[in-house]
């Protein structure tokens, strides 16, 4: 019997943090306050692109209750930050590049006084031409957002010979797809409380996703050592990738104000501020051209994607790298040429969001697959199974998949659960009525964790108390997804104790090692592996002590059900707590550090070849919709989500990730679009930006597939992002089945479904825009593709 099968690994345990969350005692960042705290506010830009001529803060500083007014010149250290390219400014000095750029800071005795002070700051701008269309931004002579030019990323994949591949094809399918800006919409907005520390440094509690990168920027801005900057994660009210750079700038700003005033400074974004400043999911323009044979074999794929990076580089180089690796989907093709670009514009900058470069390309790939099915005279399930990767397949980047590749399994389970083939045929033949039904299918493969993006290692610490209770801490953060529970459950599994005996401490940069960012669905596989290693260190010590207590060799002992037991006859020798107490009496270490470094990956930037990720996960979604052909309204009536997660550590948590991922994907597919008109957001709060409610999301059937992978702890891999990345194409394919109309732009809202295109205003509106427009001699970049 597998020793961990009798433990709590896999069990739907209660989350370790849920008690606090149902009683109102969980403390989120905005719930922290300190005596004599001040409130910080940011003055943001009035133009999407402008030179700053002058800033006069005199009147604001004189306002009663204002304690500090700062501009870029007041930053003692580095003004710039950025994980890949350091070109984002804590406060804009010479130029603003999007409407969310901060130009001045105020700390005051109340948020109201701070806001009043912002209105007294006089900034003179010289407006510059606004670049809002990423494809136009690539043109020769387009106004430059940064001195080095607008195209800042070009990733390639080159495999085989596409000319030969197209020559061998019987037909070619060519389509352009577009996706939209998406807001993360964590229900908690950004918040920090920064406090001057006794050693001249600063301590910050906040809603921070990636504490170590934010810490680096705070230290650089204030000329401090890393050990003088302590960042502590408050209970985080959702992130989805969205509390990274925007929190770095907030941490730096609050720390600067705390330094300037010597007082604690609290900053909390309103929803409007959050939507205005925060980065979004990248909109992509995608040009897909596939050659195929009449039997459905794909002979060539030529793919070109342009990602709108907005004003700053942020995570674009990494987001687009995942896109280039996964742009062909999980389908065999000998001849591939993929180019993915990221370009600067004066839109909100774009960065990490759940999926990270996959939701966009998956929409294109899975739409193409259905078109291919039509042309080849096959159904969408047959065409996918015919072309999908199997164990031993070689990907577009030349990587041989040497693990269980479960695409056929997940596809057949999703299709079987929804009754796909029979319904697809029946709905396809139905052409009457105003309410048409359709079913759609989508699948994906996804590289686990960071891959060849960079170093991939994490630390966890496990500390056993003398009463047998356990404290787990890690550099991997819980953002609400449940990483803390997964790590705690793994530790409980190693010790054979109930989860209720384990506490998880939120990440504190001064107490655990830099573990990189909690992104890329690496929480369980990387943090969990580190936690397992840490627990095993202490377990060995405890079993040694138990051996001394019982006179039995530790090799013949195990930990189960809260006891140390003899393996041979399962007899209980001592409780876990008794062994822990004895361990303390004997002066043995009850604290263990676990480190986990992921297996090596390789990448050749010139050819786009390499073992991009150390392992992959596989998933399939199936949707059934009803389309009202008179209004374009789409109701999702049934949904099946199937994911191979390697091994579920906590079944309820995995299921929650899968359903939540579908809900977010449904929003992406049908509802959500953060509209920017010449760099000016059209939405500011949830009354304008609509996310799915309980009435929009159908009951989702979840099927957890477990093909254990030796790369992960107890065989576990990932689920957070895979869960989100194929819902939209499944829905769009269902709309095609229902109506025979292919949606090539997201979201598939009323207009796009009913009319086949979005309703757009002919030009910019509003007095502010007119002002900008008049000062522009060169309007070339303001022309939208639709009007060209």
């Amino acid at each position: 019997m597998d020793p961990d099968k009798q433990t709590i690994i896999g069990s739907p345990e209660r989350r370790v943090d849920a008690w606090g969350k149902v009683t109102g005692t969980a403390k989120f960042a905005a719930d922290y306050s300190l005596p004599h705290q001040l409130y910080g506010k940011v003055l943001r830009s009035k133009h999407p692109h402008a030179r700053i001529v002058s800033i006069n803060t005199g009147n604001a500083a004189k306002l009663r209750g204002v304690e500090a007014v700062l501009t870029a010149g007041d930053i003692p250290g580095s003004r710039k930050f950025g994980v890949v390219v350091k070109n984002q400014e804590i406060l804009a000095g010479e130029k603003v590049r999007y409407l969310g750029d901060g130009v001045a800071l105020v700390a005051a005795r109340s948020a109201e006084i701070a806001e009043e002070a912002l209105r007294l700051i006089d900034v003179v701008y010289e407006a510059l031409p606004v670049v809002s269309d990423p494809e136009a931004a690539m043109w020769e002579g387009a106004p430059r957002i940064h001195p080095e030019g607008n195209v800042f990323v070009h990733h390639k994949v080159r495999k085989g010979d596409i000319e030969k591949g197209f020559a061998e094809s019987d037909f070619v399918i060519q389509r352009r797809f577009r996706t939209q800006f998406i807001e993360h919409c964590a229900i908690e907005t950004e918040a920090v409380l920064a406090e001057p520390a006794e050693h001249g440094g600063v301590k910050i509690v906040g809603s921070i996703q990636n504490l170590f990168s934010s810490r680096r920027s705070v230290a650089a801005a204030l000329n401090l050592d890393l050990n003088q900057v302590q960042l502590i994660q408050a209970t985080l009210g959702g992130s989805f990738g969205g509390k990274d750079e925007v929190m770095t700038s907030m941490c730096c700003r609050a720390a600067l104000l705390a330094r300037a005033t010597g007082r604690p400074v609290k900053m909390v974004n309103t929803r409007e501020e959050s939507m205005l400043e925060s980065y979004k999911r990248h909109p992509y323009a995608m040009y897909y051209r596939w050659g195929a044979k009449n039997d459905g074999t794909i002979t060539a794929m030529e793919i070109r994607c342009i990602a709108d990076g907005g004003a700053y580089a942020s995570m674009s180089p990494f987001v687009t790298w995942r896109s280039v690796v996964q742009a062909t989907g999980p389908y065999a093709c000998e001849n591939v040429r993929t180019d993915v670009y990221a370009v600067y514009t004066n839109n909100n900058y774009t960065g990490a969001m759940r999926g990270f470069g996959s939701p966009q390309v998956n929409f294109a790939i899975e739409s193409m697959m259905d078109e291919l099915a039509e042309r080849a005279g096959m159904n969408p399930l047959e065409i996918r199974i015919r072309n999908c990767f199997r164990r031993g397949s070689v990907t577009a980047t030349g990587q041989k998949l040497d693990h269980v590749v479960s695409l056929q399994e997940v596809l057949e389970k999703a299709a079987g659960e929804i009754g796909f083939e029979e319904k697809w045929k029946r709905y396809r033949a139905a052409t009457e009525g105003t309410h048409r039904r359709g079913v759609g299918l989508a699948c994906s493969y996804r590289g686990v964790s960071l891959g060849a993006e960079g170093a991939d290692a994490a630390e966890a610490a496990v500390s056993v108390q003398t009463d047998g209770s356990v404290i787990v801490s890690s550099g991997i953060t819980d953002m609400g997804q449940g990483a803390g529970t997964q790590m705690s459950q793994i530790v409980a599994g190693v010790f054979g104790i109930p989860l209720g005996r384990v506490r998880f401490l939120n990440t504190d940069t001064s107490r655990v090692a830099d573990s990189g960012p909690t992104v890329a669905s690496r929480g369980t596989i990387t943090g969990g592996a580190a936690a397992k290693n840490a627990a095993e260190v202490v377990r060995a010590t405890l079993l040694g002590v138990a051996g001394e207590m019982s006179g039995i060799s530790p090799r013949d002992l195990e930990m189960a059900e809260g006891y140390v037991v003899r393996t041979a006859d399962r007899s209980r020798l001592a409780s876990f707590a008794e062994v822990a107490a004895e361990c303390f009496e004997k002066g043995r270490p009850m604290h263990g550090i676990g480190w986990h470094r992921s297996p090596k990956t390789t990448w050749d930037e010139a050819t786009g070849q390499g073992d991009a990720y150390f392992t992959f996960v596989y998933g399939a979604n199936a949707a059934e919709v009803v389309v009202d052909t008179e209004t374009g309204k789409v109701d999702v009536e049934d949904f099946v989500s199937v994911h191979d997660v390697g091994r579920a550590i906590n079944r309820d948590a995995v299921r929650g990730q899968m359903i939540g991922g579908v809900a977010m994907g449904l929003g992406y597919g049908l509802l959500e679009e953060f509209v920017l008109e010449e760099g000016i957001p059209a939405q500011h709060n949830f009354d304008e930006y609509l996310i799915p409610t309980s009435m929009d999301v159908p009951p989702v059937k979840t099927v957890i597939v477990e093909n254990e992978d030796p790369a992960g702890p107890f065989g576990a891999k990932s689920v957070g992002e895979p869960a989100n990345e194929i819902a939209a194409p499944a829905i769009v394919n269902a709309i095609f089945n229902a109506t025979g109309k292919r949606i090539t732009e997201l979201p598939a809202d009323l207009e796009r479904v009913r009319l086949g295109h979005a309703l757009r205003r002919p030009g910019p509106r509003g007095s502010a825009l007119k002002e900008t427009e008049q000062s522009l001699p060169d309007l070339s970049c303001k022309i939208r593709p639709a009007e060209r």
């Binding site: 009683t23 993360h184 959702g238």
Partner: protein, 160 residues
Amino acid sequence: MNVTVALSFTLNGKPQELDVPPNMTLLTLLREEIGLTGTKRGCDVGECGACTVLLDGRAVNSCLVLAPQVAGREVVTVEGLAPLGTLRPLQEAFLDHGAVQCGFCTPGMLMSAKDLLDHTSEPSTKEIREAIAGNLCRCTGYQQIVEAIEDAARRKNTAR
């Protein structure tokens, strides 16, 4: 400036007497004056439901209620559900069904659910979904929350 009005009301079963500015919202009163931070601020315009509390037993967005409006009335917040740390069946059900992820919407969800369960003994799935339609959740996709509320209704009826 600095005008205040005297306010008396009942909060989680206990009488409160204080002076508040007339334009202060109930949400700000709870979080910033009284220090009960369990009630959350997500949008401040009555769209997200994170600030939901019970006012005379019915769910309201506390960001849309002015503090003086609660004079003489009864307010219950998430902190009032289990004052002594003994969870109610509704809270237990949320734990058992994985209905909590980040937890930011949870206090509001609980209060909307409590309103429903206090007024409907055997709510249908549709009634449950309607009852929480004003509470946005970005993590869960709502299903486990709906299942938890269904279970809480059963637990309540069994206990009766």
